[in-house]
Structures are given as structure tokens and as C-alpha cells.
Symmetry: C2
Subunit: 477 residues, 2 copies
């Protein structure tokens, strides 16, 4: 039965990308739906990807001095309300706890949608002197936002993430940390997830509730839509003033701290699916593949085949995440299943290979096959995984570049968004009116003002007034 499900073709991504996505998350057994509307079960194959993301990102955090903590999941209503912009941004989409056991609570508690207010409350008690700074804390947890429309990994009422929250003695140090963490995110996406990103700043309209500046990394999915993949916020001293977080500086005067926050989420798994996946299913970059090498024995009942498969597994297991598919399904089913699940390398070994002292390696990303002498297996698998990781990034970059356009005026801009899908680079006057108008007419938003600016034209693509910034525009998840 499981075999049959596996080989039923999934919807082609060219026919219906949204349905293709849903098919992949279900058939690769990443998630399951639940009785709780808008919330999902992350199944072993999905959670194992998250564990690899966590482990590697957390390692990068620790290299730049981040320490992990855990704060409560509840925020008293009065605490959420302390910073005006922040509460306005989040109050409409929080879940409220009103009863503890059989008793009504004296004050409602919201389930954290993000923890700026709790960290501020904590820092207010924990920071007294310049000696207590900086604080560079992070937590791994789940958060809740009461979304109306939900999609697995991309938008759900509860999702897993990390949220970093820092406090600094100076505005310069806070800004430097904001950018440093954005760079960590960008490096992580490129090196680990093989996803190239555009680094830039959000416009006033798109920035985080309560932030002075929000920086973002934006990735392009296979269908040409943008995905905001990580954000880093500089809060200046706004939260510090609202919460009274002061420290005695070296000159013995009381000063407010400067703060930042930054987060990435399980949404990254959605990005992996939509950047790398194909019509056979998931394609995982080796660095986040829970199974990097899947050994499929051919004619496994023939003498020596299974033993050899186990021997190869044991040889590879020291350096790679490897498994043998020794179920009683046919090799064809096993191939389809390994492809659906996105395992980067498949090893095929049968009686003839045994005789010839070789095996077949098959790449998931290109489906290329190569014959390898058994004695070279470890070295060749290692090289191949490196090659796959590298080429997946290059392929994604090529795709993005082929789907990034420039528009000098509104006619070009509209034509591009009507006929193509991808990023459009165009100039902007800096006024929200133009962003609003573009969103209304084309359902397109400003993704970011990239750090790498270009002078595409002298005037705003929308209103024709003098241009201030080059902006990446796109339709977004």
C-alpha cells in the first residue's frame, strides 16, 4: 500500500505549483494535518531536517558569541502593550489565555507571537552596569500567530523558530550586530541550504512593528515568487525607553540600552522544497539531508547482495548519514521513494556489480549515474556530496538571475509582472504611496532595498519623481 502511494505521480510543478508543493510535503512525509486548524504535525522526515538546520545554525551563532536561554511562552497583556507600535502590529493576531485550571485569570496572557516584550522585562532586571553589556541571547522555541490562511511550513498558526535578542551600550554596536546576524543568516542559507539570497533593508511600510530598521534576506522560489527567509531588526533605544532599561555607563551616567532582534523559522524547510524540488519530489542539499546516501540492493535475495549492502553502509556510516533500504519492495519502488524523499545520493548494488567489484552512484539533483569501483566508495561519495551541494547553489543562483528583471518605467514594470514571474529591480522615490499603489494594482510588494544598489533610472518607476533607492519588487509567499 505504501508502495502504491509512493509511485502515484505527484502534480507537475508546471501545471499547479501550489498543488505540487502540497503533494511533496505530504508524500515526502514531512508533515501531517491535525485537528487543530492551522497547526501541523512535523513528522520524522521533516523534523530531522529542522534538527540539522538547528544544529548548524546554532553552531554558527555560538561562533559569534550567542548564548541560549529560555523565556516563558506567556506574555501578560499589560507587558505586550508597553511599546505602542509593537502591540498594534501583533495584538490582532495573538492567541489569548483567559483561564488557568477552573479559574479566570486576573490578567489575560497572550501566547508569545515573538518575545521582544519578555526580553525587555528580563533585561530591565538583569542589566545595571556597562559591565553587564552586551547581552547576546537567543532562544529556540515555538510561537503562535493567529493566521487566517495557512500553508505547511510557510504560514501556520504555530511554528518553530529561533529568536535572538540583544542589548548594547551604543547605537553603533547594535547596528553592527544587526548586520552581523543578517550576514550569518545569508551565509547559512547559501552554504548550508544552497539557497542564494538578496541582502537588503525593508522599507518603512514593510519593517517590523517597533523597529527603527529591519534587514532581510530574500530568496526566489522556483515559481518566481519571493520568500522572506530571515530578518534582523535594529530597535534603537525605543523599547529601552518604553521598558526603562538603563545602565550606568563608564562615565557614571544612566543611559538607555540599544537593542536588536533576529529570527529564522521552519519556513526555511518550505524554501528548501520550493527552491530545489522537482517533479520527482524533494531534493535535499546534502548538508541538511537526514539521509545523505541511500543504498538500494538489487536482487537482494541473491547470495551476498544484502551483506555487501550492509558492509558498504558500515564503511560509509563513519562519515555520512546512510541507510540501506532492505524492505521487500521492488528496486523501482525504492528508487521512486528515495527520489520523493530527496536523498542526495543513491547507491545501487546487485549481483553483477558484486562480481565486477563496483556499484552505481545516482545523483538525486541531476539523476546522473556513475560507476564507481567499490574500493573508492568513501572518497567518491564524499566528492559527490560536495559537488551536489555546490552545484545546487549554482543552479539556484542561475535560476534566480534568469528570473531577475529590470524596469525603468511603469509600462515595463507592469509588462514584466504580467508576463514573467521573478524579481523586478526598479527605482523608487521613497514614498509609501507608490508602494501602496503598486501593491494594489499588481499585488506586488517591495522585498528590500538591496545593499548592492544600482542606478537603473533617475526617476521612481511609479510616480516619476526623483528616485532615492533601487528596490527588489516581487510577489511573495
Amino acid at each position: 500500500m505504501a508502495d502504491k502511494k509512493m509511485v502515484e505521480a505527484i502534480t507537475s510543478m508546471d501545471v499547479d505549483f501550489a498543488q505540487w508543493y502540497t503533494d511533496v510535503v505530504k508524500k515526502a512525509e514531512l508533515i501531517d494535518y491535525t485537528s487543530v486548524k492551522g497547526c501541523m504535525v512535523i513528522k520524522p522526515a521533516g523534523y530531522a531536517i529542522w534538527e540539522l538546520i538547528q544544529k548548524q545554525l546554532d553552531g554558527m551563532f555560538k561562533e559569534v558569541g550567542v548564548e541560549n536561554v529560555y523565556l516563558p511562552m506567556f506574555i501578560p497583556e499589560s507587558l505586550l502593550e508597553k511599546e505602542k507600535d509593537h502591540v498594534e502590529g501583533f495584538a490582532p493576531e495573538v492567541a489569548w489565555v483567559t483561564h488557568g485550571g477552573l479559574q479566570p485569570l486576573q490578567e489575560r496572557l497572550c501566547v508569545r507571537p515573538t518575545s521582544e516584550t519578555l526580553f525587555c522585562d528580563f533585561y530591565k532586571n538583569d542589566i545595571h552596569s556597562y559591565r553587564d553589556l552586551p547581552k547576546v541571547y537567543n532562544q529556540w522555541c515555538s510561537v503562535v500567530r493567529w493566521e487566517k490562511e495557512t500553508r505547511p511550513f510557510l504560514r501556520s498558526r504555530e511554528f518553530l523558530w529561533q529568536e535572538g535578542h540583544t542589548a548594547h551600550a551604543t547605537a553603533e554596536e547594535a547596528e553592527a550586530r544587526t548586520i552581523q546576524m543578517l550576514n550569518v543568516y545569508a551565509d547559512f542559507c547559501e552554504q548550508v541550504l544552497a539557497i542564494p539570497v538578496i541582502k537588503g533593508q525593508k522599507t518603512e511600510k514593510e519593517k517590523f512593528a517597533g523597529a527603527v530598521a529591519t534587514y532581510t534576506i530574500e530568496a526566489l522560489m522556483h515559481d518566481g515568487k519571493a520568500l522572506q527567509s530571515g530578518t534582523s531588526h535594529n530597535f534603537g533605544d525605543g523599547f529601552a525607553k518604553a521598558f526603562g532599561i538603563q545602565f550606568a555607563d563608564k562615565d557614571n551616567t544612566l543611559k538607555y540600552v540599544y537593542q536588536t532582534s533576529w529570527g529564522m523559522t521552519t519556513r526555511l524547510i518550505g524554501a528548501i522544497i520550493m527552491v530545489h524540488g522537482d517533479n520527482e519530489g524533494l531534493v535535499l542539499p546534502p548538508r541538511v539531508a537526514p539521509v545523505q546516501v541511500c543504498i538500494v540492493p538489487i536482487q537482494q535475495k541473491k547470495e551476498g547482495v544484502l551483506d555487501k549492502a550492509y558492509e558498504l553502509r558500515d564503511r560509509l556510516a563513519g562519515s555520512f548519514r546512510v541507510k540501506v533500504d532492505d524492505t521487500d519492495k521492488s528496486p523501482g519502488f525504492k528508487f521512486a521513494e528515495a527520489e520523493m524523499r530527496g536523498f542526495p545520493v543513491r547507491v545501487e548494488i546487485g549481483p553483477k556489480d558484486l562480481e565486477a567489484g563496483k556499484c552505481i552512484l545516482c545523483r538525486r539533483d541531476t539523476r546522473e549515474k556513475l560507476e564507481v569501483p567499490l574500493e573508492e566508495l568513501e572518497a567518491r561519495v564524499g566528492e559527490l556530496l560536495d559537488t551536489i551541494q555546490k552545484e545546487m547553489l549554482e543552479r539556484a543562483r542561475t535560476h534566480r538571475e534568469a528570473h531577475t528583471y529590470t524596469a525603468a518605467d511603469m509600462a515595463e514594470f507592469e509588462k514584466l509582472f504580467n508576463e514573467k514571474s521573478g524579481f523586478v529591480k526598479a527605482m523608487w522615490c521613497g514614498e509609501q504611496d507608490c508602494e501602496d499603489k503598486i501593491k494594489e494594482t499588481l499585488s506586488v510588494t517591495s522585498r528590500c532595498m538591496p545593499f548592492e544598489q544600482e542606478q537603473i533610472a533617475d526617476t521612481c518607476v511609479c510616480c516619476g519623481k526623483p528616485a532615492k533607492k533601487m528596490v527588489y519588487w516581487g510577489r511573495a509567499y
Copy 2:
């Protein structure tokens, strides 16, 4: 200011153990209190212990075939109510979400106090055939129980834990898994936390809401009180029948699955504090010490001292978790701080040591000092950490044995609980009346019916009727 706080003496554990505990969790900077009553901040020094617990316990889980998943934090009221005993056990202490954003919910959601019901709902959809069994899933998350009295790590409204939930084709397999996981817990406590535990079964009165049998590991704290440190439950097919979780067996008949669940929590950090701590503060077993070796330079302004300290750190860093305390505090303050935080080994290195090519190693657990030639440092530190880990377990075992008593009749039993503190082993008839009476008169509960039974007397310590089981009794956290 930080120095001063550190050297203020903490309350002596012999004077007031509860206050000593509170002083240690605060002064070792493990936690902070929050605006959310009954919830705490786990600070970096506390969370790093939890990360080491997670990593090692998760490793042991994976060795016995456990896979990690993530299920929603919310449970619809109707789902919680499906298993009668279970809802009665938990409904009085759950937090209820009644509003999402500005709208009241159609059905109240509770914040998970434990996830049996969600796993059942998931398994009902995910299990069809004997080929889908067993399911051996676990999640790392936080849970909420609306406790009235709370204490850091021991009892709080929100705490971190892991919860394993399994489904099996036969009752025998479920029972075997329940015991297997209890053994993993016991091994973990002894080998990693250096805490010896008594393995046994809970009485009917003390078992988990909805379980057929609950097994437990019980540890003895320094003050002679017991701490339930991990539990493993066999549910039989009770939940399966309530939720309709059936599978087609090999003989083509529909059968209900048999289930288990098992959990350990951040309460283990409380156990570490109360088993190993002393009047100087925390004492951490090396395997869960975020800093295993703290190097304190003496006269650090003298030429070469700090450089040598960094050189030693770099030599040790490959094999151990090590740091140099190069702050401008005095060595005395640094010693006190390293002791308060429980670092297992302190290395002292000053100008005279430099000249003599040696350094001083100081054990946190015994405060013994030994002189070590610098060229032998790595080997000697490694040996010393192994010795500390081993001797901490032995010391805790000796303490427990010295505080474990036997009582043949009620007079002895009462005398022991009035004059001593510790475990008392005594016979029991098997009736809840006797447990109730003992709890009422002495505030003592049955901790477990140990797997290793002894025949202390022929009659129940309470009612004098024929005895069925030897029980460990104690006052508990």
C-alpha cells in the same frame, strides 16, 4: 558589584535547605523570576546544562530507535475529553485559550499539559497496517500545568521536557518498550548526572491518569526528600479504544494498538543541584558541566601569565569545555565564582608555576588540590574529570544508602519519619486506604514498588494485613 554579590555567603544547607536551594539557583545564575507568575527565565548557565542533558539523552534515544517529531501546542477541548481518566487528571490544571486575535474561538483550546491525546489523534490517521508499527516518536517541547505553588525547576507553570509516545502491535511489545525506556532513564541519571535511582512501579494511587502501569525512577536529595526523576507509562489499549486507533494485522483482522509514553524534564536540573550541591554552591558532574575546566590566572598582569593561560586553554579546548577567567576581579573572587557555578576543575597558574613548569588543579567536589607538570595537563585533566564523575555517583549512592531505612511496623515507621529523613522501605498490603492514611498522618507517599523486592516483614506496615509488596516511602518534592 557582581563580585560582591558572588562572595556574600549563601544560606547554609543545614540551616535552611529550601533557602539554600533558592540562593543557589539565583547566585549560580541559573534562572530569573519573571512578570509571569510561576514561570521563569532559564539563563545561559542554566540553559547550557539543559542543552547538554538534551544532547546526551537524545543520543541515547536515537540508539534505541526513537525518532523526533513536533506536534501542536494546542489541544481542542473535545480531544482532551476523549479518554475519561486522562481528562479528569489534567483538566483542573490546564491553561485555556479562548480567543484567537479579536475573535472568540468556536472551541476552547488548552495549552498542552502533555500530548497523549494529540499523538492518539495523529496515530489514528497515520497507522493502518502492521507495517506501520511500531511508532517510536518523541518530542522536545514545553508544557503548561497551572500549579498553585511553584519552585524553580521543580514545579513551574511552564517547563521544558521530552515526551516519548509509542504505538505497538502487541501488549508485550508495549510493556517491553516501557521498561526499556525506564532503563534508558536510569542509565542516563547514573552515568551522565551521577545520580543513582531506584527503579520501580507506581501504586494505583500514584500512577499516571489513563495508564495501566506507571514505572518511575526515584532519587534521594541531599535533604533526604525524594524526587521523582522520570516516568514511563504503559497505556495498554485504553487510549487506542477511546480514539479508535486500529491496524490490519498480518492475519488480516483489525486490532487496537498498545501504547506507551515516557518523559523527563528540566526538573533534572533541580535534582543535580540538590544531590550534588554544597555550601559553596553548585557542583556539576563533568558530563553536564557547560564549563568543565576554568583557568584562573594568578597575578595576571605579570608577563607571560595570561599568555600561558590562553595557551593552556587552547591545548585543552580540543577535548574539554574550557574557559579562562581573565576579568579584572581578584583570584579570590574568581575562585568563589567558579565554585558557586560548579565548574568541576579549576586550573590555577601564576608566575611561580610558570617558572616551575607546573600548575594547580583544584577539584570542585572535594576541593582537593594537586600539582601537575604542564606537559601532562591534558592527560591529568581528563583523568581527573573521569574520577570526579565516578566519585560523585559513588558519594551520592553512599548518601542514599545511609539515608535508606527499613521499618517492620508502624511504630518504627513513624519514629523513622519523625526523627530521620530519607527513604523508608516497608511492606504494604496493596490497599489505597493504607496509602491514604500514611499520607494523612505523616505527609509521606509511596514512591515506588521497587523491581528489587525484599521481604522485610510478612504484614503491612500500616494495617497489619498480609503484605503484598515492599514499597519505598518518602517525603517528596
